[in-house]
Symmetry: C2
Amino acid sequence: MSTAARASLSRAALHASLGDPVLESIGFLNEVMGRHPDAVSFAPGAPHPAPYADLDTARYLDRFLDHAAAAPGRTRESATRLLYEYGPAQGLVNEVVAEALRRDQGIDAAPDDLVITVGAQEAMLLTLRALLADPGDLLAVADPCFVGITSAAAFLGAEVVPVPEDHDGLDVAALAEACRAARRTGGRIRACYVAPDYANPSGSRMQLARRQALLSLAEQEDFLVIEDNAYGFTAAPGTELPALKALDTERRVVHIGTFAKVCFPGARVGYAVADQRVGTGHGSGEVTLAGELARLKTAVTVNTPPLSQALIAGMLLEHGGSLAEPIRTRAALYRRNLTHLLEALDREGAGGVPEGVGWNHPDGGFFVLVRLPVPADEALLEAAASEYGVLWTPMAPFHVGGGGTHTLRLSCSYLDPDRIDEGVRRLTRFLRECAHPGTGPSRRYGTSRPGNEGAPK
Amino acid sequence: MSTAARASLSRAALHASLGDPVLESIGFLNEVMGRHPDAVSFAPGAPHPAPYADLDTARYLDRFLDHAAAAPGRTRESATRLLYEYGPAQGLVNEVVAEALRRDQGIDAAPDDLVITVGAQEAMLLTLRALLADPGDLLAVADPCFVGITSAAAFLGAEVVPVPEDHDGLDVAALAEACRAARRTGGRIRACYVAPDYANPSGSRMQLARRQALLSLAEQEDFLVIEDNAYGFTAAPGTELPALKALDTERRVVHIGTFAKVCFPGARVGYAVADQRVGTGHGSGEVTLAGELARLKTAVTVNTPPLSQALIAGMLLEHGGSLAEPIRTRAALYRRNLTHLLEALDREGAGGVPEGVGWNHPDGGFFVLVRLPVPADEALLEAAASEYGVLWTPMAPFHVGGGGTHTLRLSCSYLDPDRIDEGVRRLTRFLRECAHPGTGPSRRYGTSRPGNEGAPK
């Protein structure tokens, strides 16, 4: 047969979510990183690998098996078999996770209120799928926003409504207005996604009054809050704020969590606490929303790998049913890195940076934002990588509602202090030489102004 | 705050896929199984646990780490870190899997033509998401059909077109007609799902000419074939037929596979071979469809757990880069069980079963279908469980286009021969006493005929 008959596809003929600018942007960033392996990269928000050296996975597995074998009617042999079989869709270790949530975060949930997922990402996709039932069902997000939630919405073809945030997180009055605006056009805000503590990418943090205002609005406007709590653990001792779910007396919050940052990302274990009651329509039958998410999970991954669940549960059991101790050491590592990054920026920047360059000073999380007087676009990123050996993440793709064009994100999570120092030296030189309106590399490398190449003026 | 303000949800207000009769049916089956733990259950299609006793996961992991550490620039330490980090979305072990596909199934795929997924289920969801771009894009399925693919379609709100099959699998002429019918209404069949070998649930098998006819039609009508190859390995030596992907010279087939049956299901490792070329729209840029599926994966699970991938790759490496030997022993186990089940049915049935009762005699796979002269519905299942101590799966939920109401599915995969014997004795008594039109328990227990209770006539 001729090769002309071969199936040929174009991205334009595939699902629209594949054309998502966020995916394009991630792809470009990875590609640039691949071409510049010696650059100091402030791009990845991945956890630091140092704690992996302490992971005694054989021991964690053993701990889980001891625990599982102690259940009535169970032997060590039948417990081991749990690792190899499919297992329950809702999860194998819900009881252990529920206990840790109670002890570490003051979240009171029964095992049936939880579904264990393949990372927090699957929990987001399942939650959106359950709640966004009709085309008029909208997801509000704090803008800028973690790309995992917007890509899950795009995967489902669901519409996202950006709500501005300030240093203290989501603007609740603006969300109230978005609810009214949605109603006027026949739609409704069905859920609102927020990361209340040191959000990725903005680093914003909701203070207590803001958290309570959001919960009140959720009740008033009848939507659910999807809380992503990935960075709350980085708060300095004494500065912790309660999770929205710990404040939620009315079952308005679906709390999504991950073990990627405190245990390890390769486990791919996350969860949703979804204690909302769902009427099944069969008489007085009622199930939890978590149970409904588990039913949807049969269409996605069927089960979260039991071996992964066992490792996480074993780690929890090894630490007495709580993650307090690993949280303490990990949080100290990330605060050290963040402080180091901010001090280096302030120190190097004191030598002078162009007008309009500045950065925020978050007190937790993985991220620092740098404002520029020039667009922080792909051309500028290419120049930073090839000429200065430093990489960062453009902020525009995180902004659903537009904006962020002149901001870049630095992540401090994956680097060691000496690499941070070297990276900040390179970054400062880059800022000094390139962050001048009309003269930076984005102008020189951009396609819109050929002939405008040359040394910065 | 009053409890009246608590978020209350009804299933009817959640996404329509939660109301899928298939999910309801699975839920009911699980619930009946839970209430009758001593019943012999022919319901679960899960792999037999015996091979788990031979799984030396520590050794497999070691094998993988040896292999990974031998890569240029890699140490044993950095290889170990691969297990704990996120890793590449497209997969960590593509090269090892591609080599096994070449050796075991004659499928010639480059590592970049593969994406490693959380079970075959995630591969199905990703493939459907990529291909079903518009509401008019339809998925054709052989009817009856594996519920994993129809639930993935329901998750995406995509429309499914059932195409009848016979003993030799999908009716290709009927599919051609479905393509024409779709065009007349402004839609198009974008993909067709088939399990060519011993399909779940029907046990049908496509002969070589049928396979070739399907590939020709795919080319003619410009759709892709989604091949699910879960049961091909059970073919008796000398009776193997080539996978559709091994016959596919024109990149018309997306081949979906699983390691659940030959390795172990708890790993949750599957894959898609998607070597189709996709134009990105950026100049002459071209990527593989597998790469596109990996991009979509960031919205679903981000990565397949590297530890799971490492275990599977280690098992492959331990067996010299091929699964031929485990395939041989597993296939022998399942053929022994299937033969045992069919012999027991024929032997016990020789004592007499009601008119209209009969079963097929597949020569591979996990499943046998039993036709009844009465509806094989939930009421009949309840009676089989509570009065006869035997469980089976009603076939109707597998039929997208209606039908299957008078058929039940028996699975032989999970049981041992003595349990199969006991189960068939119970089943035969149940068939003798209940499979009489108008008199069986489905009439006695059904809600539609109150007052018709009493001993079978």
